[in-house]
Symmetry: C2
Subunit: 244 residues, 2 copies
Amino acid sequence: MSQLSKAEQKRQAREEELIDLAVEIIANEGPGSLTLEKLTSRSAYSKGTIYNHFSSKEDCLSALCCRAVSSIMTFFQQAVEFDGNLREKALAIHYAYQLYSRIHPTLFQVVLISKSPGVRDKTSDKRVECMDLLENQINDVSDSMFQHALQQGEINNPHVSVETASFANWAMSFGTLALASSAAEATAVSRLDQETILLNNVNLLLDGMGWSPLSSEWDYCDSWKRIAEHLKPLATHHTNNTHD
Amino acid sequence: MSQLSKAEQKRQAREEELIDLAVEIIANEGPGSLTLEKLTSRSAYSKGTIYNHFSSKEDCLSALCCRAVSSIMTFFQQAVEFDGNLREKALAIHYAYQLYSRIHPTLFQVVLISKSPGVRDKTSDKRVECMDLLENQINDVSDSMFQHALQQGEINNPHVSVETASFANWAMSFGTLALASSAAEATAVSRLDQETILLNNVNLLLDGMGWSPLSSEWDYCDSWKRIAEHLKPLATHHTNNTHD
DNA sequence: ACCTGAACACCGTTCAAGT
DNA sequence: ACCTGAACACCGTTCAAGT
């Protein structure tokens, strides 16, 4: 299964090359201006070959989504290694998510775009499968975090289950970052401190779950700074973007 | 100022007519398939006239965004009239937001799309002004709610300001609804009870702010049902959609 | 002043012909 | 088996000609 034919290896290498190129296009010109025409003319290949890799423009967008979620996953893996209590580890994951959304704002957008019907519908079955697989991996990271917190009694609240907590946590993070990156000029966003906006929102939520130590009992601002330090390698290493 | 010439009245009526048509198109075929070509051919007017109303395809999308936000505003105005304590009024607004996102899922999407750079950039100045104005109105509703709660001591937390609370509240609502509507097939979403998903998330957040009565001290599930009853007229009256 | 539709450039997708 | 690029339908945007 892991033994790939030479032809297949070449094919996969080319697909990576094309995705790299597509990433460059959306980073510089936005997700809306990705066209397979552009991708063709800027690559060394012909229209037919492009369509050999991507069954449609939307399938290409979904390939970018897979790339994005996969990167986010490696960010998360770095984050959980932060040395601290469980709630701090959770904060580290949020920080990693924010970091990704700021290093690759357009790829961050693409993740939502690809999941919307109309794009998903025009994505090849093989790719949809890949997206769902990656999404489940991300999900598992989040779930297992809350599982631990509940088991160890750090969250002590009969109304909080793994499923509800995990989703509320994701919704808050996603909502905050989506609004901060897409509606950055909005008064409601611009009047806030961009450095701690996510920390504040998440702290309110986790306090509401009763995840101890509560923010009144612990200096999470300091944690946030230490997390930033811990994840600095990701921030510097991945900044090979031309535009944003 | 409010005295419009006959020509201007006619122009505005036609614009409403075109926006109605565009709403119909995106409701049935998704925001991605709105084209000015389609809008032209399904309307009684020519390309030139369409471009007389919308400076670009993106400007047309932004017109839909204005329509959406304006409708959301009227939903909110119904919501604040719910007879209950302040936290229940806040819940009523969330309920109204959810109701809108379910009655007009594609218009709900369009609001985020229009605020993204690349769409906003291609929107006429006049329309951008209109969008910002409406957004501020929505903002004011949210802000004044938290202002009241803080003044009356129902939120008693030195770390919570109007600005931070208002944004956290918006982010949670938006994040929850965006994920629930765009990523409905995702495991993290589908495994939850769709009826109370938003109520649960918001309750956790408002508990975290210390907004009394806390969810442990009050039956907000019951409030949620009463709010649904209060807003029923909106649900039935506005369901004139063909597809979703 | 406003409306019309031809015109053109660009894009998505297919497929016959070539290797 | 895979690659190529011509071909065609569709779309965004402009603008000369018409009222």
